[in-house]
């Protein structure tokens, strides 16, 4: 559960989950939505994947991510979004630092 809290504490990762709520997206499509480097985004994806919040499917060189939230995790995501947890403490992820 610690991994889930860590993953949901970051606004960028929460935004990734919100985007995946609309439809599955490739790593490239998701990265285009953020003004951070690809390695940084890759690290964010890894944190989400380790917390089992997203599912990654690799086909060739393309990785497609899908949302994989339980009801409790979904509620925690909504709670974090509502109260902006981590928005002040971690306003913008710097390059090479995903958390």
């Amino acid at each position: 559960m610690n991994k889930v809290f860590k993953a949901l504490a970051d606004p960028t990762r929460r935004r990734v989950l919100e985007l995946l709520r609309q439809r599955p997206m490739t790593a490239g499509e998701l990265s285009e939505q953020f003004a951070v480097s690809r390695p940084t985004m890759s690290a964010h994806f890894n944190v989400l994947r380790e917390a089992d919040l997203i599912d990654a499917h690799k086909q060739g060189t393309t990785i497609t991510y899908r949302l994989k939230l339980s009801v409790l995790e979904d509620a925690l995501l909504g709670f974090s979004q509502t109260f902006g947890i981590g928005n002040i403490a971690a306003p913008r992820p710097s390059k090479g630092d995903p958390s």
Binding site: R21, Q22, R23, P24, T26, D52, D55, H57, Q59, G60, T62, T64, R66, L67, K68, L69, S70, V71, L72, D74
Partner: protein, 138 residues
Amino acid sequence: MSPRITTAIAIALLFLAAAAGLRYAEGAGLIGADGARRALQILIGLGLAGYANLMPKRISGAPRSPLVERRTQAALRVGGWSLTLAGLTQAGLWAFAPLAVADPGSMIAVASALALTLGYALWAFAACRRVPDVPTAR
């Protein structure tokens, strides 16, 4: 045997053991008939909530077309949320409400959630069949 089947069997055995334990406690006069019934219904409600909580996580296979993925995800979320809330409602009613309220109330809650889950799943299935299956854009 897959871990999922093993877990399901373990949970089923736990429920059976709890039911047998409650029956024994009732027979031994440790709890009343109402208490045993309430405890079992609370356990069933919590079991339903726990199972439904993980429902949206049960995705497998390669991603299909964006429409199918979106509808599948939405159906799993609707089912997961409605059945989780129904399970918690059942547990709450059997824990705190009078029997006259808990009995029909929990049945209505679970039946409504099941109807919503099945109805939404059928609607999503029909919506997916109306359009051709286009693979996810790469």
